[in-house]
């Protein structure tokens, strides 16, 4: 029994996969489960259970042929793999923050006991980072380039400066909303200390909030933005692109939404589809174990102490999240650190 549990013990924890565009995230979760089950079932099985049986046999005895019992050890066929079926038929794999079909990027999955950590990750309210590509000149009904066309406009008047101005305005309004939803009084010492250590952010369910937004590339009609946000959906990000287009007195559609970071799982940690197998996933779980534990302890530990307030961040978190207290909007766009290069 212990030998069979050994492969299972490696499969308790969180890992990240890279979801390709055009497939549903449920399909990703199901495929990972099927691949893992296939590998687990093909691992070496222990020998079939034996049973001691007493069989009657005829033996040459004193008075001619006699009936006695002989001892033999025979396999118990009820425990044979062809009779009882495969050893593993189901794995508990849970999905973290889902991505819709058109978007791609880092997708966190939890397996076994790691599913509890998924709930903890949700309650820690960490931010996520996306790169969003947009196209000026079109407007569609679902804000993406595959929707029904509604309007076409010119975009010659759009420059990088105007775009960055709009982005700064967006960031400013979102920052105010962030502070409001965080429920802290900015004039207290406690607020200052928390702000020094890291981002002040709400620890309960709120409408989508953008904590940081900046322009990475600008080559009209195309442009690329980087957005750090909380409690968002991918459709919300596409709507933001549409609204940016409207603010610039033109129109825009979103061509690509790609998640580069989910909490503390980044593109480097995410496994591509060609690498979805038992060994890689086990290694990935092992690598992220310590990080996950430290992060969640800090986030939720502080939450418990302060009764649902913000949390301490350590070095790791600080490199991914940034402090915004007391800075002007234009400073923020330069101050925002690059999480990972494309």
């Amino acid at each position: 029994m212990a030998a069979w549990r050994a492969p299972r013990t490696g499969l308790n924890g969180l890992f990240a996969v890279y979801k390709a565009p055009g497939v549903a995230s449920i399909w990703v979760r199901d495929t990972v489960e099927t691949l893992l089950l296939k590998e687990l079932n093909s691992l070496e099985q222990p020998a079939v259970q034996q049973q001691v049986r007493f069989l009657p046999t005829t033996v040459e005895g004193n008075a001619g042929k006699e009936l006695t019992l002989t001892v033999t050890q025979l396999p118990v066929l009820a425990a044979h793999p062809l009779v009882r079926g495969p050893e593993f038929t189901h794995l508990k794999i849970g999905a973290g923050h889902r991505l819709d079909t058109k978007s791609s990027g880092v997708f966190v999955l939890g397996v076994g006991h790691g599913n509890k950590l998924l709930t903890d990750m949700y309650n820690a309210h960490l931010t996520r980072a996306y790169t969003v590509r947009g196209l000026f000149g079109k407007a569609t009904d679902d804000f993406s380039d595959t929707g029904r066309l509604i309007e076409k406009t010119t975009f010659d008047h759009v420059t990088r400066d105007k775009l960055e101005q709009i982005l700064a305005v967006i960031q400013g309004t979102n920052h105010k909303a962030l502070l409001m939803y965080s429920n802290i009084d900015l004039k207290t010492q406690e607020a200052y200390e928390l702000a020094v250590k890291g981002l002040i952010r709400p620890m309960e369910k709120t409408p989508p909030l953008i904590t940081g937004i900046r322009c990475l590339q600008f080559a009209p009609p195309e442009f690329q933005l980087e957005i750090q946000c909380l409690h968002e959906t991918q459709q919300y990000l596409r709507k933001i692109v549409h609204e940016i287009g409207l603010e610039l007195k033109s129109t825009a559609v979103c061509t690509q939404v790609r998640r580069t970071r989910d909490g503390f799982f980044t593109l480097d940690n995410a496994l591509l589809q060609m690498h979805w197998n038992l060994q890689n996933i086990r290694n990935s779980i092992k690598d992220s174990k310590i990080k996950v534990k430290v992060e969640l302890q800090r986030s939720l530990g502080h939450q418990a102490r302060c009764g649902k307030r913000h949390t301490d961040m350590d070095q790791v978190a600080e490199s991914e999240l940034h402090s915004t207290e007391g800075m002007s909007a234009s400073d923020l766009t330069h101050k925002m650190r690059e999480p990972h290069a494309d």
């Binding site: 049986r53 009657p56 009936l67 062809l82 009882r84 790609r258 589809q273």
Partner: protein, 416 residues
């Protein structure tokens, strides 16, 4: 034991005026799960467990059944073939039931016993002691064959042959059907027949896992069908290949097989030899449903715009496309033709692209576009043929076709 007592009381209460066989039927109907025991076995087990009738004794008295348990020292080990050995006492009891029409249960009990009730402290001879088998009774009904496999000779031999019982028991009525079979009488002949046709020894197990119902088909019918196939000029190896790859083939009647062969010849407009090659290559075309194939042909002609001779070429090269999902087929063709810009005649030459996953085609095409190597026109230099695009594994694709490293490919994939 209480369970047994309850069963006996249900059974006995139903024996009012009818004879033994009918009451067994009624008892069987009260269970919705399978009954492993047919009439003979129920009677025999009831008789051997004399203690139920006598309130309290636990010893197995095989005396009434004469000598059995011949040592069957086969490779399976001990096999209690409870069905075959207990025929004689059953006839005896059935005669007795006809003689006595009374409904008094107590009288019935007393009549069946050959010997007076015995006590556990009675001394018995060594021979009898050795013959006592104290195994727990088999359940009357079960949802899995695991409970019966150790005691049933048929099932044990099937497992050793390689039949996957866990899959077979999921099929409708297959488990019950297998339990009632006798290996020597029914199964052996059909296995030898399959071996004559040409199915390999190691294929017999998977064959029976997929189609256990072939054990119910008459040998003459099987002979007729194989003769029909040979009359259509399929060679011996071709027939062997077809039968092993499509286990349900020999379960189809001759008219059905004839209709299907005719369908393929007519719809695809192929010559007799080509139809034969097609069917030998993918025999499950004959056993699968024909509706999806008709729809796929419609899709090819109307939506995708292929001409009949192009369809014939595609089908003879990659027959699996006939059974492909038509939605996926349309999406793949849409990407290949409209986004990658590949014309019909090149697609006809490389039909294996329709077989591969759309995601793979997309990723590789985008990588080649990024590198500036996406050239699918044979007339131009550095042309990349479609089979190289899809059929190669990733490492070979990266080094030979894209001329980049696998790491670059992975980095690119993470930017999609």
């Amino acid at each position: 034991m209480a369970f047994w007592a309850r069963q006996i009381s249900i059974w006995c209460s139903s024996v009012k005026t009818s004879n033994v066989a009918n009451s067994i039927q009624r008892l069987r109907k009260t269970h919705r799960t399978w009954m492993q025991l047919d009439e003979l076995s129920v009677l025999s087990l009831l008789c051997t467990d004399n203690h139920f009738l006598q309130r309290g004794l636990k010893t197995y008295r095989p005396v009434s059944l004469g000598s059995r348990l011949q040592s069957t020292n086969s490779s399976n080990g001990q096999i209690v073939s409870s069905e075959s050995n207990l025929l004689s006492p059953v006839n005896h009891y059935q005669q007795q039931a006809e003689v006595i029409p009374s409904s008094d249960t107590k009288t019935l009990y007393e009549v069946w016993e050959d010997t007076p009730p015995s006590s556990a402290l009675e001394e018995i001879s060594e021979e009898e002691a050795v013959q006592i088998v104290a195994e727990p009774p088999l359940p009357l009904g079960s949802f899995t064959l695991r409970d019966y496999v150790d005691r049933s000779e048929t099932l044990s031999k099937l497992v050793l042959l390689g039949v996957d019982l866990s899959k077979v028991e999921k099929r409708p009525n297959a488990g019950q059907f297998l339990l009632r079979l006798d290996f020597e009488k029914d199964i052996r002949k059909r296995l030898l027949f399959l071996k004559d046709v040409g199915v390999e020894d190691n294929q017999l197990g998977p064959f029976l896992t997929q189609n256990p119902y072939i054990l119910a088909v008459d040998i003459e019918a099987l002979d007729t069908r194989v003769a029909y196939l040979k009359s259509k000029k399929f060679g011996k190896e071709a027939v062997a290949r077809m039968v092993s790859r499509a286990p349900f083939l020999l379960s189809f009647s001759v008219e059905r097989l004839d209709n299907r062969l005719g369908f393929f010849q007519k719809e695809l407009g192929l010559s007799v030899q080509k139809t034969r090659d097609l069917v030998v290559r993918l025999p499950r075309l004959l056993t699968g449903s024909l509706e999806p194939i008709k729809e796929n042909l419609q899709v090819f002609q109307a939506e995708l715009g292929f001409r009949l001779n192009e369809i014939q070429h595609i089908v003879s090269k990659v027959p699996k496309i006939l059974t492909a999902n038509k939605r996926k087929l349309t999406k793949t063709f849409d990407y290949l033709h409209n986004v990658m810009g590949i014309p019909h005649h090149i697609l006809t030459n490389f039909p294996e692209v329709f077989n591969s996953k759309l995601l793979r085609i997309k990723e590789r095409h985008m990588f080649l576009t990024f590198l500036g190597r996406a050239q699918y026109d044979p007339a131009q230099p550095s042309y990349i043929s479609l089979d190289k695009l899809v059929c190669m594994p990733d490492e070979r694709f990266c080094t030979e076709v894209a001329k980049a490293s696998v790491k670059d490919f992975e980095k690119f994939l993470k930017t999609l």
